[in-house]
C-alpha cells in the first residue's frame, strides 16, 4: 500500500510538489514525519499540522490509508 500526501502553502514550496505518493508505508504519523524530514530537511523547522482524511491528528495517530495532508498555519480571510 502506498501513502498519498498533499502539501500546502509554504510546505509545497519546500517539497517542490503539491502531492506525492510514498513507496513505503509508515504506520504512524511519527514514522511518516521521520521519512519526510529525511527527504526534505527544510520541513523540520516549519510549523505545521497533519490531517488524515481531513481530520487533524496527533503524531501518534496510526496511518491506515486515506488522504494525508501537511498543513502550515492557516491564514484565510
Amino acid at each position: 500500500m502506498s501513502t498519498n500526501i498533499k502539501y500546502f502553502g509554504l510546505l509545497a514550496e519546500i517539497t517542490s510538489c503539491r502531492e506525492e505518493s510514498l513507496g513505503n508505508s509508515p504506520s504512524t504519523v511519527n514514522e511518516l514525519l521521520e521519512l519526510l524530514f529525511e527527504k526534505y530537511p527544510g520541513l523540520k523547522e516549519k510549523d505545521f499540522r497533519v490531517a488524515i482524511d481531513q481530520q487533524l491528528v496527533t503524531e501518534d495517530a496510526r496511518i491506515t490509508g486515506g488522504e494525508i495532508a501537511l498543513l502550515p498555519p492557516f491564514s484565510g480571510g
Binding site: F8, A51, Q54, A69, P72, P73, F74, G76, G77
Partner: protein, 147 residues
C-alpha cells in the same frame, strides 16, 4: 435555513462590491429579517522591509475547507437564532484594496448578529485551511500569518 451538505464557499479572485449588493438585494424578500451584519476582509498593502504587498494569492485544502465552513455554519446556527448566513472566500489572486472574505449574517433582531458574525469570522481564521501568499511589488513573496 440549514444546509444539509457542504457547499462551495470559494470564489475565483476578488469578491466585487456588486456581488455583495446582489446578495443584500436577495434578502429584501425576507421580511422577517430586521438586522444584517456583514464582515469584509480586504487585502492590505502592508509594507515589509521597504517592500509593499501588492496582492495575496490564496490556496486552500478545498475539500477540508468546505467541510470546515459547513461545520462552522452548523455550529453557528446551533448557537445563535439566525435567519440566514452566507460565507464567501477568494481563491487565487486578490489585489491590495480588494475583498477576499465576505461573511453575511441576518436575524430578526440585532443583538444576535453582532455576536454571531464575530464568532464566524474568528472560527474561519482559526480553523479553515486557507493559505495566503503575499506578493510584493518586485514579485518576491512571503507567507501570510494570521494574528
Amino acid at each position: 435555513m440549514k444546509d444539509k451538505k457542504p457547499k462551495n464557499v470559494f470564489v475565483e479572485g476578488a469578491i466585487s462590491p456588486e456581488f455583495i449588493a446582489t446578495s443584500i438585494a436577495k434578502h429584501q424578500s425576507k421580511t422577517s429579517i430586521g438586522a444584517h451584519d456583514i464582515f469584509l476582509g480586504q487585502v492590505r498593502a502592508d509594507m515589509v522591509d521597504n517592500k509593499t504587498i501588492k496582492a495575496i494569492e490564496y490556496t486552500a485544502y478545498e475539500e477540508m475547507a468546505n467541510n470546515k465552513f459547513h461545520e462552522i455554519r452548523e455550529a453557528t446556527f446551533g448557537k445563535y437564532e439566525l435567519s440566514c448566513m452566507h460565507i464567501y472566500h477568494s481563491l487565487g489572486t486578490v489585489n491590495a484594496g480588494e475583498i477576499c472574505l465576505f461573511v453575511f449574517v441576518s436575524s430578526p433582531r440585532r443583538k444576535v448578529v453582532f455576536e454571531a458574525l464575530e464568532y464566524v469570522v474568528e472560527e474561519i481564521k482559526a480553523n479553515v485551511p486557507v493559505f495566503g501568499r503575499e506578493i510584493f511589488e518586485d514579485e518576491s513573496h512571503q507567507w501570510k500569518v494570521n494574528t
